[in-house]
């Protein structure tokens, strides 16, 4: 006979969020003490950081750990041994990830839960095969200002 052991939800009162969606990926998220934004993004700050938040056009330097819904490790810059760098506002990142990073401050550490609506594209030609929530632990290390310089017919962006 199967006996239910006490679950996480029974041990502590949790706020749960139900995201309606097409059949197959209606998901309830149980995340206590997180901030829920209207666009579906969920995050929790572990370290607030200081200074101003990055804006479009700036380059951010950050470490991240990416997990799937089961807590399985997808990717990590800590494992790669060097932080990632990318510019904001060039649609180079997962939309939910970029939205979550934009309100961080340098030195901040945040866990971002990205819903499928704000996630990466899925399909046969992409890395992801199904609509899933993704969880990112992000540490914002630095923000750099970028300038575009033109030299003849070439144009380059340098950030420092």
């Amino acid at each position: 006979m199967h006996t239910l052991r006490p679950t996480f939800a029974e041990r502590s009162p949790l706020s749960a969020l139900t995201r309606p969606g097409p059949a197959g990926y209606e998901v309830r998220v149980l995340a206590d003490a997180y901030t829920y934004e209207d666009n579906g993004l969920i995050y929790k700050d572990y370290t607030a950081g200081s200074g101003s938040s990055p804006v479009d056009g700036q380059q951010i330097v950050f470490h991240y750990i990416a997990y799937n819904e089961s807590g399985g490790l997808i990717d990590s810059t800590y494992r790669q041994g060097r932080p990632a760098e990318t510019r904001l506002g060039i649609q180079g990142m997962i939309p939910g990830f970029e939205a979550g990073v934009k309100s961080m401050r340098v030195g901040g550490k945040r866990r971002i839960i990205v819903p499928p609506d704000l996630g990466p594209p899925v399909g046969p030609s992409t890395f992801f095969s199904a609509k899933q929530f993704e969880v990112f632990d992000v540490e914002l290390l630095a923000v750099k200002d970028c300038t575009r310089t033109q030299s003849g017919m070439f144009s380059t962006v340098s950030c420092q």
Partner: protein, 79 residues
């Protein structure tokens, strides 16, 4: 080659490794979300999610996900 196990990954929710903000943001459920108790089916799904998370060595404070997929019955006797 998978070298995941050989690499130390430091999640943020280890109490001795993080500096918590002085005023943590309060949880503010979205108006579109609903807060309710779990049904027995959801509890089973949550149990499964917790079990897989522990196998994956997810961080202690990792959120839980209850995914309601569609069940395709091949026989009326199959439960």
């Amino acid at each position: 080659m998978d070298n995941t196990s050989a690499v130390a990954v430091e999640p943020f929710d280890r109490p001795d490794a993080v500096e918590l903000p002085q005023q943590p943001p309060a949880a503010a459920p979205s108006p579109s979300g609903t807060v309710r108790l779990l049904s027995e089916e959801e509890r089973l799904l949550l149990d499964q999610n917790q079990r897989i998370k522990s196998l994956n060595r997810a961080p202690d404070d990792f959120p839980a996900f209850i995914r309601k997929g569609e069940c395709a019955h091949t026989s009326p006797d199959l439960r």
